[in-house]
């Protein structure tokens, strides 16, 4: 049965620089990169290419010794120019000097009717070889799925409620026609349901409304209503030993395209957002693009932070950094490394806050778009305030107790308090609103790693 779920708790962070629905071409990026660090669980990466090799889009470049079948493929065609390593020879980036015209590696093609008879084995093989498998994320733990598992269900969130979020359907662009094929393939992978969760507060885009063979669930409410983890909690929560998979709509379409056209097409419409971007919109480019190439001739200047991803879960890459495998957005905001005289008590209508403590007046005008910089507005402190995290985590979970269990490395409590149901993005709002300025996403990941390795 399809469900309609209304969430009340949460907070929409209303920032300046939302993307307009218009597409521009990126300036030609000479180099693209595949970053093994995007894949949290990759423990023993093995290279399949060396500097100087020529690759096509879809040529396998990398795999993890712990899961040999899954190939990580080049997003574009060209020459491998640099393999960048960090401390202890940790693999950081594989850079490719791109051809002007992208040439694709050929994979097996299927017609729509073939897909109906596709076997699970065949589907798994093609997906793992064809570069699209890392789109499939396993819960618990938020890691690339293991093809040998059988998930009890697959969840797709078809909308994004993060600050400055892109329009997910618009972002599918010309991949829209592959979305249904992707769903058909995914249905082979689980004996359970494929849930497609749509925004109950907006008009449903055709591509989602017409999807076949899925449970169409409606969610409404403030962020994090669009987070797939929150949706799973309300539809079919995860307990110990359960495994479910999640895929973003872009990944679904990419999977469909691999089967229908036989190619790994890493082209995507990246949302270019943030208060410092002159014309926030969408740019057509490829996964792994260098951030500064996304702005055409209008690269923002000044003392700025270039974030791959959104402001809550993204990564500070610098403008010469590269967009990650999962990123579909780049955000540019001012850096905040300045002191402010009596900044902790001065009343202000310009500072965005979830709270209403003396002088924080943003609650009077929630409709306003705020420009927020990277200042932390305070120092690290122990947990003091209670009952605030609960207001932005619409799940039956006691966040403070869970975080304290992680800090004290209490494995039993972590499990009992629901660590299986969360990944970083689900607690990002807790980190944002925390008056004690704890690094909650990092704390949660440490807890997840403890449980995963126990």
């Amino acid at each position: 049965m399809s469900k309609t779920i209304k969430l009340k708790r949460g907070f929409d962070i209303n920032l300046a620089g939302k993307p307009e629905k218009k597409i521009s071409e990126s300036s030609h990026s000479e180099t693209y990169a595949l970053k093994p660090t995007d894949f949290i669980n990759m423990s023993r990466p093995k290279l399949l290419v060396k500097e100087g090799d020529t690759v096509k889009a879809g040529t396998a470049m990398l795999y993890d010794k712990m899961s040999e079948g899954v190939k990580y493929c080049s997003p574009v065609s060209g020459e491998v120019v640099e393999i960048k390593r960090g401390e202890k020879r940790k693999l950081l980036e594989i850079k490719i000097l791109a051809d002007k015209e992208v040439v694709f590696e050929k994979f097996k093609t299927f017609s729509t009717s073939d897909l109906a008879n596709l076997s699970k084995e065949e589907a798994l093989e093609q997906m793992q070889a064809g570069g699209v498998w890392p789109n499939i994320i396993q819960r618990p733990f938020g890691i690339v799925a293991n093809a040998e598992d059988t998930p009890k269900a697959i969840f797709i969130s078809a909308f994004d409620t993060n600050p400055l979020a892109p329009d997910v359907a618009f972002q599918l662009g010309d991949k829209e026609k592959f979305f249904q094929a992707g769903l058909d393939v995914l249905r082979k992978l689980t004996p359970g349901k494929v849930h497609l969760n749509i925004n109950g507060q907006a008009e449903v885009p055709q591509v989602f409304a017409q999807a076949n063979g899925v449970e169409l669930n409606k969610f409404s409410g403030p962020h994090p209503a669009g987070n797939v983890g929150v949706q799973i909690h309300h539809l079919d929560p995860i307990s110990k030993k359960d495994i479910v998979w999640t895929v973003a709509p872009y990944g679904v379409a990419q999977i469909g395209q691999l089967f229908l056209e036989g190619k790994y097409d890493a082209s995507k419409l990246v949302a270019v957002t943030g208060s410092e971007v002159k014309n926030p919109g969408y740019v057509k480019t490829y996964s792994g693009v260098m951030l500064e190439k996304l702005f055409g001739s209008e690269v923002p200047t000044g003392h700025l932070r270039f974030i791959a991803g959104n402001p809550l879960t993204g990564e500070n890459c610098g403008k010469a950094g590269y967009l990650g495998y999962y990123h579909n957005q780049v955000t540019v905001i001012p850096e905040g490394d300045y002191e402010e005289f009596l900044g902790w008590i001065k009343p202000s209508t310009k500072k965005l806050s979830f709270h209403k403590a003396i002088g924080l007046l943003s609650f009077l005008n929630r409709g306003k778009e705020y420009t927020v910089d990277t200042n932390t507005h305070g120092e690290d402190r122990p947990f003091v305030v209670s009952g605030e995290f609960e207001k932005v985590l619409p799940m039956d979970i006691l966040p403070t107790y869970l975080f304290k269990a992680i800090i004290s490395e209490d494995y039993d409590d972590m499990e009992a308090l629901g660590i299986f149901e969360l990944i970083e993005e689900d607690v990002a709002l807790c980190e944002f609103i925390d008056p004690s300025k704890n690094e909650i996403q990092k704390i949660l990941r440490e807890g997840i790693e403890m449980i995963k390795n126990s």
């Binding site: 990277t374 200042n375 305070g378 690290d380 003091v384 039956d396 009992a416 944002f432 996403q441 990092k442």
Partner: protein, 396 residues
């Protein structure tokens, strides 16, 4: 503000590693962050933006919420003074006398407390935490205006060291720090914090008819001697002193900040409006006290039990405790369900202690401390219920 920034910059090397005052870095940082919100930025991973709130702002919100109680308290100390010595006076005179009695207590509480706090921060190399902003004010407001200053100092040191630092500092304490100070005095120097201490005479003598008995004292007498409490209250030497309205307004002798229910309610409006204090706790303390008052009305075996339940809400320190003490997030219950239970039991115990145990006329202090100790237990069961819900789901 550039000159001030430059001054800090100039001093900075002395406090950094290798500098001559290296050990006092935390003091340097503490002062700089009070003058200027720091220039810290978010990490490369994790949220790239942060909410504009911080603990300093939350704490200062609580301090601001206490200011009506403080100002009224100062005035009332003067007001009671002139009533007791039988003189007429104007607003300014009353405020002045109040200030003479109250400001030194406030100064001692803040300076001794901060000094103790700084000492621990330096020894432990902790950042200076803003919690004492609130505690310093609270300690002053719950003292009788006649308290010797050295006792304030001693109690403050005891509270900060034993009540807070012994547990690991801000955020780790079990008991409310300010109430620890008051409890210390109550048991160490009972003669200075009970009996005839609630009115400040200065260098004058009270009029002959004067009696310093409080409502709680009349109640205690009623229980032990079987007198009629309501009759005693209306027969108080100063006519109309203990009418319900006067009690609500707080025109009565008592601790500096806690006589006026009205001022506490103004504080409550600020705390609830800013979301800093838990309305659940405040409401349930009043609810618990009223409930217990009604239960005693039904039993009615002495005149204190027969005191109309609403009187319990305006006498003693109930309102002040409910609004400013019980809501301390560190020592209160931290789960939302827990907060209801915690508050209700505080109210209930306060009235129970008042009426049944006349040896401790003011019940709110002991009730809150008692429930501080039990708050983790309440939370334990609320958390346990959450765990069980999750476990139950797994087997279905």
């Amino acid at each position: 503000m550039k000159p001030l920034q430059n001054l800090f910059d100039k001093l900075k090397p002395n406090f950094e590693k290798g500098g001559k005052w290296e050990k006092f870095y935390t003091l340097y940082e503490g002062h700089r962050t009070i003058a200027f919100a720091p220039d810290l930025t978010t990490g490369n991973k994790g949220t790239q933006i942060k909410d504009a709130v911080d603990l300093k702002r939350i704490m200062i919100t609580v301090v601001i919420a206490m200011i009506p109680a403080l100002l009224f308290g100062m005035w009332n100390v003067g007001h009671q003074h002139f009533i007791s010595v039988g003189e007429d006076a104007v607003l300014l005179d009353k405020l002045l006398i109040g200030a003479i009695a109250v400001v030194p207590i406030l100064i001692v509480s803040y300076s001794v407390g901060l000094l103790t706090e700084f000492t621990f921060c330096v020894i432990r190399n902790h950042p200076i935490s803003e919690g004492y902003l609130v505690t310093g004010m609270l300690i002053a407001l719950i003292m009788p205006p006649t308290i010797p200053l050295w006792q304030v100092a001693l109690a403050t040191i005891f509270a900060v060291v034993i009540g807070k630092e012994a547990f690991g500092g801000t955020g780790m304490n079990i008991l409310n720090v300010a109430l620890t100070a008051r409890a210390f005095l109550y048991f160490a120097y009972p003669s200075n914090i009970s009996g005839e201490v609630w009115t400040y005479f200065g260098d004058k003598q009270p009029v002959d008819a004067y009696s310093g008995a409080t409502v709680l004292a009349y109640g205690a007498t009623a229980v032990s001697n079987g007198t009629n409490m309501m009759a005693d209250m209306s027969a108080h030497w100063y006519d109309g002193m203990y009418s319900f309205w006067n009690l609500f307004m707080g025109l009565i002798p008592g601790s500096i900040g806690e006589t006026s229910t009205l001022m506490c309610l103004i504080g409550a409006v600020i705390l609830i409006g800013t979301g800093v204090g838990s309305w659940k706790i405040i409401a349930s303390v009043f609810g618990g006290a009223y409930f217990m008052g009604v239960v005693f009305n039904l039993v009615g075996s002495n005149s204190y039990m027969e005191l109309p339940a609403e009187y319990h809400l305006v006498i003693g320190g109930l309102a002040f405790g409910a609004v400013f003490m019980a809501t301390d997030p560190v020592s209160a219950a931290q789960t939302e369900v827990g907060k209801w239970i915690y508050g209700f039991l505080i109210g209930l115990l306060t009235v129970l202690i008042r009426v049944v145990n006349p040896a401790y006329p003011e019940g709110i202090m002991l009730a809150i401390l008692f429930m501080n100790v039990f708050a983790p237990l309440i939370d334990y069961y609320v958390v346990d219920a959450n765990k069980k819900r999750r476990l139950k789901r797994a087997t279905v």
